[in-house]
Symmetry: C2
Subunit: 336 residues, 2 copies
């Protein structure tokens, strides 16, 4: 048997057929049984040196590749079902490398009910991971387009922690030393920030609640920074989002890190990226009921602003309103 086939067999063993999976990995395509209805589908590519640091742990990379796709399904209010995984990697990393990536992706996906059904392996000069996930919208799909002036703006979790985690990871890598260098930051705080970057939590449960009970008028996952993604939701809906600086969720870990770096933690919150939190809008009449439901389900969400007539996204604070829709990460600043 050729090395490639041995690898595919080992990969297929991670994804045994059964239930709706009629044909799993190892044939030309996967085949699954489907009921009638809607199908939500998404794909994301992660590139070494662009989306993650070189020499990242492969299992964690796989978890992250799954999480960023699961986050897209969460932002549509869709229940994850299946995924395909393509991995390009330098052959000298050995065949356990892509398998570890696949194992990580399978583990993360399984937490949300999604199963690997197929994939592709390719040699490549650096590591590239593309996953494609699909699932079933749990109600009317959550789009970016339904926000109305007057709606309450919510965000989940703690955006900004991932950007701080990336910065911390880069420093640790640059100093070739573990956390000891950052004595001003507790190890709990360091772990929390690093985990926010390396192993983000897709907000699938929240997305399903928002879709099933039609709580959200619009939703987007925050991947390129709260400011940029607020601007995207605003543009798609034809409104302006105004976030209230005082209401932004700033964790104690981010506060401590920003303090040590002598930076404004709010710059991380609105200008960071890789958060994979949900930003969404809710009719004022529904907000209280949502708060109760979220609290009962231990889902961390927070009212951070309002949709108003206009365009773009602003951050209001004691010194007035600042535009934030053009902040954050852009993959193609250099593209003209």
């Amino acid at each position: 048997m050729k090395p490639e086939d041995r690898l595919v067999e080992r990969l297929a063993a991670l994804a045994l057929p059964g239930g709706p999976v009629t044909i799993g990995p190892g044939d030309d395509a996967a085949v699954v049984a489907r009921e009638a209805g809607l199908l939500a589908a998404t794909t994301d590519m992660l590139v070494e040196g662009v989306d993650f640091l070189p020499d990242e742990d492969p299992e964690r990379l796989g978890r992250r590749a799954a999480a960023v796709n699961l986050s897209d399904l969460a932002a549509m209010g869709a229940e994850p079902e299946f995924f395909l995984l393509a991995v390009g990697f330098p052959a000298e990393r050995g065949e356990d490398f892509p398998l570890s990536i696949a194992r990580g992706a399978c583990d993360r996906a399984a937490e949300f009910g999604a199963r690997l059904v197929g994939g592709d392996l390719s040699s490549a000069p650096q590591v590239v991971i593309t996953a494609a996930f699909w699932g079933r919208p749990a109600g009317r799909p959550l789009t970016r387009t339904g926000a109305c002036a007057g709606d309450v703006v919510y965000v989940s979790g703690h955006p900004g922690e991932a950007a701080a985690g990336l910065r911390l990871a880069q420093k640790i890598a640059a100093f070739h030393s573990p956390a000891a260098r950052f004595a001003e930051l507790s190890s709990d705080h360091q772990r929390r920030l690093l985990a926010a970057f390396h192993d983000p939590s897709p907000r699938v449960v929240l997305g399903l609640l928002l879709a099933r009970e039609a709580f959200a008028t619009a939703a987007i996952d925050v991947s390129d920074g709260l400011g940029v993604d607020a601007g995207r939701l605003a543009r798609a809906s034809g409104v302006r989002l105004v976030l209230d600086r005082e209401r932004l969720p700033v964790s104690s870990a981010l506060l401590a890190f920003a303090g040590a770096e002598e930076l404004d933690p709010v710059d991380f919150v609105v200008g960071g990226g890789d958060d994979y939190e949900l930003l969404f809008t809710v009719r004022p009449d529904d907000a209280e009921r949502l708060d109760e439901r979220a609290s009962a389900s231990k889902l961390a969400i927070r009212r951070i602003g309002r949709a108003v007539p206009g365009a773009g996204a602003g951050l209001s604070g004691p010194r007035g309103e600042r535009e934030i829709a053009e902040l954050g990460h852009d993959h193609f600043e250099a593209v003209r």
Copy 2:
């Protein structure tokens, strides 16, 4: 608007919603309507310098990325419906570059009824394209597992032409000169070989015929060489495939090229790769009816051997039988 968003808008314009597409590109995930039944899904990654030469025409790359995935659906007997496209590229190539890739992919997919519904763009040190296609099996899905001893082995088209085309393209690139160098090869033959490599034709129509009328007992698409893929089908089915050297389809273009290179054309046919032809097995009782149907539909297929008890794949010729299951392309020869 950020460069990334402008790019996504231009990409989305290639794939207007409508029909079963409820939500197309530009939101967190695509949403399409589905009837109950089976869903076949596949993904393939193409990497610059591994799967294609640097400085390849982007539109043609897109066509090829679509074709290799369509070929997988063809080998399952599935009718293509939708696809997702992820492109990584160096920002300095400019934003028309990924759009040309997408346009090529959309054009090729449209020929077979498939539509782009979403995607992802990422910067990357070199070009990487991952497509994920899905569709509906037209009958019982064609797997690799159903061949029985006694079945007739068929192949479509002219495997080996793509490998010759790659070799020709590499020579043209190395000499920095167009076809003039290869005076011994007519320009028609050159065009044919180059097209076989650059712009393969997925055998979707054939796959649908084989599945709808249950002609094939097993099928695989020939991507890594006829020998290797015959070995894969044989292993999955628990039989041995014996191909008859005299029956292999050798085109006049391949014959001329191999002659000029002083090589055996059969080595290209069984040991080449990137063919995207279908290799399949048929019960002896069905073979004549299939030949008539294929001829009426102008589908080029050919009986090239038999399934027999045993394992592996062999090529029988005047000097006996030679093992061919370990020939051909392997992406991970170096992986241990």
